[in-house]
């Protein structure tokens, strides 16, 4: 990516030259494919080929079919449950690391929290299948110790999918909340308590509102990948509870209907964008305040 010599020296030109290799790569392999997907979604499916005749039929099919509606509803429900569970369970952990851990130990705690996240995703998901099954690790351990007599059965269920995903995306929720908590000026908390607030009311009226930007980031960063998860519905749900990613695969490859698959993918992106925007709008007060 050589830039004509006369441009050297101006900051804008240097910056553009510097970013161009990465930006061109992203335009070719990300922007162009996403644009193609959008284009395909308004094309007609022909036999073995995609017929470039404009149609909105793919979208009507994707939104009006009861099967698709139930899959979209399930995907939304699972990802909302997972997001709520992950963020609520993660907040106290982020709070503990930010407020109760000595400065020089914080890095170590964050490292400990992120390690499980970096180990093989497929194996981690499969482990929950092994653990939650009727004859699985948890049941056999609980029966062996004598805590329960009849095994619970969570194999191939939506509940097991929620547990697995909440485990898989835990660090995604902890880190943004932690970053927001770290930015809070500690003297504000002292001021709150000097003015007669208890520790709990200080938390509710000072710490929580100031950390909401982190909570919003955590919600989005968990919600978006979870709604597009493919492996967990296959392995832990046993293929009985498909989510959006699974139907996209079915339409794109098994049914070879690329326009319909593209329309579902585009609808999924639209759904995610809408939910995210509504959520950001609901929390705009905190986002503005902490900027």
């Amino acid at each position: 990516m050589s830039e004509p010599r006369r441009f050297w020296g101006t900051e804008a030109a240097s910056g553009l030259a510097m970013i161009s290799p990465t930006a061109i790569f992203a335009i070719l392999l990300l922007a162009a494919p996403l644009a193609t997907t959008l284009l395909y979604s308004v094309f007609t499916d022909g036999y073995l080929v995609v017929d470039p005749t404009f149609t909105v039929e793919n979208y009507t099919k994707a939104w009006s079919s009861p099967v698709m509606q139930s899959i979209m509803a399930r995907s939304l429900m699972v990802s909302m449950l997972v997001t709520a569970a992950t963020v609520i369970l993660a907040y106290p952990v982020a709070y503990f690391v930010s407020f109760n851990v000595a400065q020089d130990k914080k890095g170590l705690w964050l490292f400990l929290i992120t390690i499980p996240f970096w180990t093989s995703y497929v194996i981690r998901v499969f482990m929950w299948n092994v653990m939650l099954g009727r004859t699985g690790v948890i049941n056999s351990a609980l029966i062996g110790v004598g805590v329960i007599e009849t095994p619970f059965d969570l194999s191939f269920s939506v509940q097991a999918m929620v547990v697995t995903l909440a485990h898989a995306y835990a660090p995604f929720a902890i880190l943004p909340i932690y970053v927001a908590l770290e930015k809070i000026d500690r003297s504000l908390l002292e001021a709150g308590q000097d003015l007669g607030e208890t520790r709990w009311t200080t938390f509710l009226r000072v710490t929580l509102p100031l950390s909401m930007s982190g909570v919003v980031a955590a919600v989005l960063i968990v919600f978006i990948p979870v709604i597009g998860d493919y492996v967990t519905p296959e392995l832990v749900g046993g293929g009985k509870f498909p989510m959006i990613a699974n139907v996209i695969e079915t339409q794109m490859l098994k049914a070879d209907n690329k326009p319909l698959g593209s329309a579902i993918a585009a609808s999924a992106m639209l759904l995610v964008a809408m939910v995210s925007l509504v959520f950001i709008f609901m929390n705009r007060r905190y986002l503005r305040a902490t900027k």
Partner: protein, 268 residues
Amino acid sequence: MKIPALRIYTIAYLVFLYTPIVILPIFAFNNATVIAFPLRGFTTEWFVAVWNDAELRGALINSLIVAASTSVLATTFGVFAARASTRYSFPGKAPMMGLIMLPMVLPEMILAMALLVVLLSLGIKLSLFTVILGHVLVCTPFSVAILSSAFQSLDKSLEEAAYDLGEGPVSTFRLVILPLVLPGIISSLLITFTISLDEFIISNFLKSGEELLSTYIYSKLRFPKYVPNIMALGTILVVISITLLTLAEYFRRRGLAKTGAKDSGGFV
């Protein structure tokens, strides 16, 4: 102000996070094909089976080729983007950086399908190369995130001093900037290598016949007979991942210490 309840809760949470990877080695050494308590006895049989699995060896070699290529390419792209975004202001910076970072929040299935559609319509045959392209796309944002903090903590006056002493932009980069951000680069190489090694969705849809580690594991999960081998293989992979991450964390901290920045915590 110490609240013991919070500490207990956090430790319980860590136990939840670590349960799967602690269970893994327990059953990798257990002499039974069914993954359940009580344990039957110690064996290294499954590790021997993994070692002798020729198909697995092929998948491992493919994965190593992909991971090595991906980490070098993604880190190279990461250096350009991180340097551009921390050092210069230019028109279109925010949308360009947004596009580059987008794969971090886009569901991988959508990414994989969009790429697949374009590759097929251009008549490009699927191969390890197409897997590498997809992996680079996914790994670059992580590299940019790591390297941005490395470049951010650079003191601009060091660079100006080099210019004043008569160095050009290239030699300034090589002699002054590169040594200071090198730990960040090593950290980025290790992290992107780890992500690529574990990545499943893009590997699964952009590969042709040849298996990669993650797709090979996935294809074997349906067979109960093979599950103990997966436990053994998983144990090995966990050990490798933790080793790579510990190295990455070591280099990241060394980099921060070198440039005198305050440790702001984790990778992401």
